[in-house]
C-alpha cells in the first residue's frame, strides 16, 4: 500500500502530521491527522490552588489566553457557587468582546485573507499578510495593526496585561473600570464597529464579487454535513461570554440545548492510539467514525457553527449581515429556521459577522451606565467542591471543569478546548481534500498543500493549544512514496 506523509516538520514531532494511505487502485484509503504532543495541564494543575487557574491555564495558549482566562474565571464562580455583581459580568464581557475583535481581525487578515485576496494558488511565499498589504494597500496593513494594538491596550487596561491577563477572580474581577478610562474604551469600540463594517465590505467586494471565489466556497471539497454547536442567550442569539450550549442537527433542527455544567452528559471524547489529542463527539448520537451526517456524532464548534446553532445576532448591524449570509447561502427549512450552512469556507464570512457583533457588543457595554461601577466583586463565602463552565473561544466552545478539596486545592481537572471540538471535522476535511486531488495513483501535487491548508484554515485551528503552530500557519510537508516505500517527491511549506 502506498503511503503519503504530510509532515509539518521533517522530524515528525512537535506540530501536526498527516498520513495518507492509498489503496491498491491508487485512491485514498484513509487519512490520519496526528497531533503528536500533550502538555498535560489536566494533571500538573492538580495540587494547585483553584483560584490560580485563570492565570495558569492562559498559558495553554498565548494566542487565545483571554478565552482560557475567562473560562477558568467562570469555572471558579461555579466552583465557589458565587454570583458576580452585574457590573463584573459586564466588565468581563467588555474585555472579552475586545479580545474577539483582535483575534478575529488577526485571523481574517493575516491567515484567511491571503487565500482570498491573493488567490488560493498564489505561491506560499506570497500568501501572507505582507502579500495582502502589497495587493490592497498599506493603509489596510496599518488599519489591521491599529486594530490589534488598540484592542490589546484595552485588554491590558481591563485585564492587567496585554498577553496572559490576570484580573479574573471567583465572584468578579480584581479591578473596576475607572470612569476616566471609559471614554477611551468607547472610542476604541466605535473604531472597531467601523473597522468591522469595512472588513465586511472588503469581503463582499473581493470574495462575493468574484465568481471564482463563490464557486470555491460552494465546492463540495470544502463541504461537510455535520451537527453545529454554539452558545446562545435567552433569545437563542449568539453569545460569546455566557448562555446555554445549543446543538442543531445537519438539517437545522435543535438536537439538544444544555447548561455548560452538564457537558459530560452530552459530549464524550474518544481516544485513538495514534494521536495525543482526543476526539469529542455527541453522546446522544454516538461515535460512528469520521463521517458526515445525522447518524454521526461528529460536530463542529466554529464561527460558522455558532451562527448555524443560533437564531440570530443580538446586535442590529450584525443581524443585518446574518440575514444576508443565510439568504445568500441557505433557505429556510420547514421549522422556520434557516438551514445550516455547511460550506466550511463560509466560516470566514461568519467570522467577520462575529467581528461586527463583538464590536457592537463592546460599544453597548462601554456605554452602559453600570460599566464603571466600583462593585465588581462578590465576596466568596461557600466552600469549594466542584464546578464546570464554558465560554465560546473564537475557535469553539471551551469548557473547564475543576474538583477541589475543601481548601480549594485542585484534585482533578478536565478541559475541552476550542479546537479539540473540531479535531474530527478537521481530520475529515483533510481526507476530503486529499481525495479530491489524489486519484488512481495520480497525485495532483500542485495545489495539494494549498487545498489541505485551506481546509484547515477555515477552522482556524489553534494547535497553539496542542502543537504550537499559530492558527492557520500550519507547517506541512508531503512525502509521496511508492508502494515499496521509496520516496518519490517531497513538497513542503512553513517548515
Amino acid at each position: 500500500m502506498q503511503r503519503i506523509t504530510i509532515d509539518p516538520v521533517t522530524r515528525l514531532e512537535g506540530h501536526g502530521r498527516i498520513e495518507i494511505f492509498l489503496n491498491d487502485e491508487g485512491d485514498v484509503a484513509n487519512a490520519y491527522f496526528i497531533v503528536p504532543e500533550l502538555r498535560g495541564f489536566e494533571q500538573f494543575c492538580v495540587g494547585r490552588p483553584a483560584e490560580e487557574m485563570p492565570r495558569i491555564t492562559s498559558r495553554i495558549c498565548g494566542v487565545c489566553p483571554e478565552a482560557h482566562h475567562m473560562a477558568a474565571t467562570k469555572t471558579l464562580d461555579a466552583l465557589f457557587n458565587v454570583e458576580p455583581p452585574a457590573a463584573a459580568k459586564k466588565l468581563r464581557e467588555l474585555f472579552y468582546s475586545s479580545f474577539y475583535v483582535t483575534d478575529h481581525t488577526t485571523h481574517f487578515y493575516a491567515l484567511a485573507g491571503p487565500d482570498f485576496v491573493l488567490g488560493p494558488d498564489a505561491p506560499p511565499a506570497e500568501r501572507n499578510i505582507l502579500g495582502v498589504v502589497r495587493k490592497v494597500g498599506l493603509e489596510i496593513g496599518r488599519a489591521v495593526i491599529d486594530a490589534r494594538i488598540r484592542n490589546h491596550e484595552i485588554i491590558k487596561l481591563i485585564g492587567g496585561r496585554g498577553v496572559h491577563p490576570v484580573a479574573g477572580l471567583p465572584g468578579g474581577w480584581s479591578k473596576p473600570l475607572a470612569p476616566e478610562d471609559r471614554a477611551h474604551v468607547e472610542e476604541v469600540a466605535r473604531k472597531n464597529v467601523e473597522f468591522a463594517l469595512f472588513s465586511l465590505k472588503l469581503f463582499e467586494d473581493v470574495v462575493l464579487g468574484n465568481p471564482a471565489y463563490r464557486e470555491l466556497i460552494l465546492a463540495d471539497t470544502f463541504t461537510h454535513n455535520t451537527y453545529s454547536m454554539g452558545t446562545v442567550d435567552a433569545n437563542n442569539y449568539v453569545n460569546f461570554y455566557d448562555g446555554m450550549i445549543r446543538v442543531v442537527d445537519p438539517e437545522g433542527n435543535e438536537f439538544v440545548k444544555y447548561h455548560p455544567r452538564d457537558y459530560a452528559k452530552h459530549i464524550a471524547e474518544r481516544s485513538e492510539p495514534w494521536t495525543y489529542l482526543k476526539f469529542p463527539y455527541l453522546k446522544g448520537v454516538g461515535w460512528n467514525g469520521f463521517v458526515d451526517g445525522k447518524q454521526s456524532g461528529v460536530y463542529v464548534a466554529t464561527p460558522l457553527s455558532r451562527l448555524n446553532a443560533a437564531d440570530g445576532m443580538a446586535t442590529p448591524r450584525a443581524q443585518e449581515f446574518f440575514e444576508q449570509f443565510y439568504t445568500t447561502l441557505s433557505t429556510k427549512g420547514a421549522n422556520g429556521r434557516y438551514k445550516p450552512v455547511h460550506y466550511r469556507l463560509a466560516t470566514h464570512w461568519a467570522r467577520l459577522i462575529e467581528l461586527l457583533y463583538a464590536a457592537e457588543r463592546m460599544l453597548e457595554l462601554a456605554t452602559d451606565p453600570e460599566i464603571t461601577s466600583p462593585h465588581v466583586r462578590t465576596p466568596v463565602s461557600n466552600l469549594p467542591r466542584e464546578g464546570a463552565a464554558s465560554v465560546e473561544a473564537p475557535r469553539g466552545t471551551l469548557t473547564h471543569h475543576y474538583w477541589t478539596d475543601e481548601n480549594g486545592i485542585l484534585t482533578r481537572v478536565n478541559l475541552i478546548v476550542g479546537t479539540t471540538n473540531n479535531y474530527a471535522p478537521i481530520a475529515m476535511s483533510v481526507k476530503k481534500a486529499a481525495q479530491s486531488l489524489i486519484s488512481k495513483g495520480t497525485v495532483v501535487t500542485e495545489g495539494l498543500l494549498n487545498r489541505i491548508e485551506m481546509g484547515f484554515r477555515a477552522y482556524d485551528p489553534c494547535f497553539g493549544c496542542a502543537t504550537h503552530a499559530l492558527p492557520g500557519q500550519m507547517p506541512l510537508e508531503v512525502v509521496i512514496r511508492d508502494a515499496a516505500g521509496e520516496e518519490l517527491q517531497t513538497l513542503s511549506q512553513y517548515c
Binding site: F44, R59, G62, I145, G160, S174, I267, E269, H468
Partner: protein, 330 residues
Amino acid sequence: MAKPTFAMYWAASCGGCEISLLNIGEQILAVDAAFDVVFWPCVADFKYHDVENYPDDYIDLCLFNGGIRNSENEELAHLLRRKSKTLVAFGSCAYEGCVPGLANLTTNQATFNAVYDDCISNDTTRYQQPQVVSQVPEGELRIPVMYETVRALDQVVPVDYIIPGCPPEAHQISAVLTAILSGAQLPAPGGTILGAADVALCEECPLTKDVKQITRFYRPYEISPEPGLCLLEQGLVCMGPATRGGCGALCPQVGMRCEGCYGPLAGQDQGARMLSAIASVVSAGPPGMEEAAQAAAIEEAMATLADPVGTFYRFSMAHSIMGRAKTVDG
C-alpha cells in the same frame, strides 16, 4: 551591505511570545526592513533543510522561545545554536521552563492516566492511551515520545542572552530591538539578561510598603486588598521580592499578586528567596512572647500558605534547586 539575518523559532511554547512580539506594533515593520528574515515558521515559508544548509553562525540573531519537551525541540536547539551567532532564550519557557515546567512535579504516566483513563468526558466503552507505535488497518503509525522532564534551553545548549517574561512585555522587546538596530554594544554574552531590570520587582512597584507584619496569608479570593498598599504586607503571596523587575509591576497595579514570571534575580533561587521574604513579613508575635508560642504562631501563619512549590516555582521549575519531583524509580 548585506542586512543582518534574523530567525525566530518556537519549541514547547504557547505562542504568546510571538503575539507579544507582534504587539510592538509598527516597529515590526522596522525589524522586517532592517533584518533579512531567514527562518521564522510562524510568518515566513522557510524549511528546516534551509537552516541545515546555512553555514555555521549564518544567523546573526535567533530568538528561541519555548522549552525542551521532546526530541524535536532538542534537535532544533542544537541546530539553531550551531547556525546562530547570537542565540537568545526568549521568554520564560526557554529561559526557565515556565508553567509547562510544572509537569516536572508529576510523571508522564500520571498525566496519561488523568487524560486518557480517569477522565469524566471519556468514552466509557474504551480506554486507550496513545502508543508510540500503533497498527491501523492500512499500516503502522508512530508518534513521538514525550520527555519525562521539561528543560530550559540553556540546559541543552549554551545561550548568549535571555529575555525573560511570560511573555516578555512588548516595551522591553522593543527596547532590546531598538538597541540592536542602532548598533549599540550589547553586554558580554554568556546567559546575560536583556530587557529586564537588575533589581526586584518591588523596586518598580508603585504600591506602598509599610513594614507591616502579618499573622496569616490570604488567598486572592479571601480579601479585597486595600488599593495602593503592598500586597505581600496584606497577606497575598506576591512574588515581587523574589522576582526580577522589568515588566513595570503590571499585576500588582490591578490588585493581583506578582506571579513571578520574570524569574529570579541573578544568582538566586526564586523559591528560596521568596521563603526568606516571607520569613521577614510573618509576625513572630509580640515582643517577649515565649519561644514555643512564637514557633506556633509562625507555623500557624505558614500553614495558610497554599501550594508553596507551585507558587514559588510557577515559572522557574526547570532551574529550581529541586529540578523535578522524584519519581518512584528515582
